[in-house]
């Protein structure tokens, strides 16, 4: 009896802790979402209350009078293409490292591992010079290349762990069935690591979407700005209209949240893969 009560207490404490941390995480997001529907007067008059109505004026303002849609589009282009490029090249690199024996395989994987440890930002000046000489400054393509290169080490690291765990007989079997090496990779092996692809994708998409540093340095023309960068100018312009600001922030956060919700099952499956056989 005593024991049971203890177990109950522990469970309750755990729930309280979990609920508490959930609120701590969700409340600011909730506030942001709600404030996006409020007018400036409402925000200052009753900052913690719910909005009077689902008033979309702030969003209309953003959509019609600001450059935020343009920023949103730029960020989407950069993030989607970077992640796609990253997953394709990362999968190929990880596949070569983890499935084939060749001279220098260890060297190559060490090279990627080193990329995990070295902060790219330290090399910003040579990087800038290099991008400049390639004409990629103030160009979304430049950002895409930087992000792809920057995220490659972690992607290779995540994917090669999963690829290494796939049984060799599967590959042999496909070989006996006559499939080419490329076909084995694309049709047999890679479909089996989709959870890992989702992990690597989300893990890298979030910082790319949110990145402020590289656009700040490489992007100059306003129409090439990404969202995180664009929002700062927007902050300057709209520092008097908080409702519009919050609506902008909501728009910035929304895509990643949606992607995450859609893929969360696979994400979690991937995170716990191998934990239980």
């Amino acid at each position: 009896m005593e024991h049971r009560r203890n177990a109950g207490l522990e469970t309750w404490l755990m729930y309280i802790f979990l609920i508490g941390s959930t609120i701590a995480v969700l409340y600011p997001i909730f506030m942001m979402l709600m404030s996006g529907f409020k007018t400036n007067a409402e925000i200052f008059g009753a900052p913690f209350s719910l909005p009077k109505s689902l008033n979309l004026d702030n969003y209309k303002t953003i959509w019609t009078t600001t450059d935020v849609p343009r920023y949103l589009l730029n960020s989407a282009i950069v993030t989607i293409i970077s992640v796609a490029l990253l997953l394709v090249t990362g999968t190929m690199a990880a596949y070569a490292i983890s499935r084939y024996k060749f001279r220098g395989a260890i060297m190559v994987s060490m090279f990627f591992l080193a990329g995990l440890m070295l902060p790219l930002r330290l090399a910003i000046i040579p990087l800038f010079v290099q991008m400049k000489s390639m004409g990629l400054v103030d160009n979304l393509l430049g950002l895409i290349f930087i992000y792809t290169a920057m995220s490659l080490p972690s992607t290779v690291f995540i994917l090669s762990g999963f690829l290494r765990a796939l049984p060799g007989e599967l590959e042999d079997s496909a070989r006996v069935d006559g499939a080419s090496e490329l076909r084995i990779m694309v049709e047999i092996m890679v479909p089996l690591i989709t959870p890992a692809l989702v992990i690597a994708g989300i893990y890298n998409a979030v910082p790319i979407w949110n990145d402020f540093f590289f656009p700040l340095i490489f992007i100059q023309t306003p129409e090439n700005r990404t969202l995180a960068q664009g929002l700062t100018t927007f902050f300057g312009e709209y520092s008097v209209n908080f409702g519009v600001l919050y609506a902008g922030l909501t728009l910035a956060a929304l895509p990643i949240v949606v992607v995450f919700i859609i893929q969360s099952r696979r994400f979690i499956a991937g995170m716990t893969a191998g934990a239980i056989k």
Binding site: P167, E169, L170, D172, S173, A174, R175, V176, D177, G178, A179, R183, I188, P191, L192
Partner: protein, 364 residues
């Protein structure tokens, strides 16, 4: 269907010499089993034939054409792996049809062939399932089906039944034998299961340490093993060995003295031993006669003390010690009235016994 020939095949992994100068012919329609202890190179040899590993030297022919430089798919072989290696994200039908799809076969043809194979293996109702929704035996059948669909010249099996439980294994063994008859195919089968080897094979290849020890029909290996290794490896429980001395060698044979004073003349034509050599005398458990019972005859006998008795109902196994000869196993049919501690006479007939020289070769 086709004949497979290996000539002087060697395989080295770096400095490790795994397959050593193998010469072997597998005839058309033959069911050949590779047996040998773990690590002797059975799987490696099979993978060399399949083309999954490259040979270091030698030559492999299938159907009269040299194949050792060809990719696996172009050798006309199909392989069934120990882990089944089914593609988890494909349905049973897709798994079975994959090779044909890769070969750009017509969709209708693929469909028909998959259905035919499924029919043979009783898989028709599972064609739309994924492998994870199948039992072990069904998965095994899908793996076999995948091989059948391709209509290969040679089937290669690497311990295909070792993941199944005992009952299913017996069932699949019979099924495979039937399949071999129906398809009239050339099959090479790797196992370390005695019973599988003895019951399924037309011809057994005994391997040790990357070398062929003996090739022959199951009963030939059982009755006339070439050497001590084969004698000890084929047959279960294993043959009993007794170290002795060749006292003299004459036209009549080799006079052997065992410990404890047992003496007999082992008849043979080409002894290959000389007086004073250490020899080993071998008798299978089922060839002893205990206390005068059984068909072992009485060309000689040892006195043994029983230290364990296993009664299986239809048969009885006795475990005995006799002087420095320890752990002798003797088989008796029926339930024998013998108990632990009994001292019994274990007789043998020379016609069913074996003698091995100091080099381990059979003396016949």
């Amino acid at each position: 269907m086709a004949k497979v020939e290996l000539r002087g095949v060697n395989k080295q992994f770096g400095s490790v010499h795994v397959i050593k100068d193998i010469n072997l012919t597998v005839e058309d329609h033959e069911f050949v089993v590779f047996v040998g202890p773990s690590g002797c190179g059975k799987s490696t040899l099979l993978r060399l034939i399949a083309g999954l590993e490259e040979i270091t030297s030698g030559e492999i022919d299938i159907d009269g054409a040299r194949v050792d430089h060809l990719a696996p798919a172009r050798r006309g072989v199909a392989m069934v792996f120990q882990s089944y290696a089914l593609y988890p994200h494909f349905t049973v039908a897709q798994n079975m049809g994959y090779a044909l799809r890769v070969a750009k076969e017509d969709k209708a043809v693929i469909d028909r062939k998959v259905r035919e194979a499924a029919e043979i293996l009783q898989l028709t109702e599972y064609l739309d399932r994924k492998p994870k929704a199948l039992s072990g035996g069904q998965r095994q059948r899908v793996a076999i089906g995948r091989a059948i669909v391709r209509d290969p010249k040679v089937f290669l099996f690497d311990e295909p039944l070792s993941n199944l439980d005992a009952k299913l294994r017996v069932q699949m063994r019979i099924e495979l034998t039937r399949l071999h008859r129906e398809l009239n195919a050339t099959m090479i089968y790797v196992t370390h299961d005695q019973v599988e080897a003895m019951t399924m094979a037309d011809k057994i290849v005994v391997l040790r340490d990357g070398r062929v020890e003996q090739i022959g029909a199951p009963l030939d290996l059982y009755n006339t093993p070439d050497n001590r290794f084969v004698a000890g490896f084929i047959g279960s429980p294993a043959m009993n060995f007794f170290a002795g001395r060749a006292e003299s060698v004459s036209d009549a044979g080799v006079e052997v003295a065992l410990e404890g004073g047992t003496r007999f003349t082992f008849p043979c034509e080409t002894p290959g031993v000389k007086a004073g050599d250490v020899v080993e005398f071998g008798v299978r458990p089922e060839h002893f006669s205990i206390g005068g019972n059984g068909d072992g005859g009485s060309d000689g006998a040892l006195k043994g003390e029983v230290y364990a008795v296993e009664r299986l109902g239809g048969e009885t196994y006795l475990y005995l010690n006799s002087g420095s000869y320890r752990d002798i196993v003797a088989h008796m049919s029926g339930d024998a009235p013998i108990s632990i501690g009994d001292s019994v006479e274990i007789g043998f007939s020379l016609a069913r016994s074996h003698l091995f020289g100091p080099d381990g070769q059979s003396i016949r």
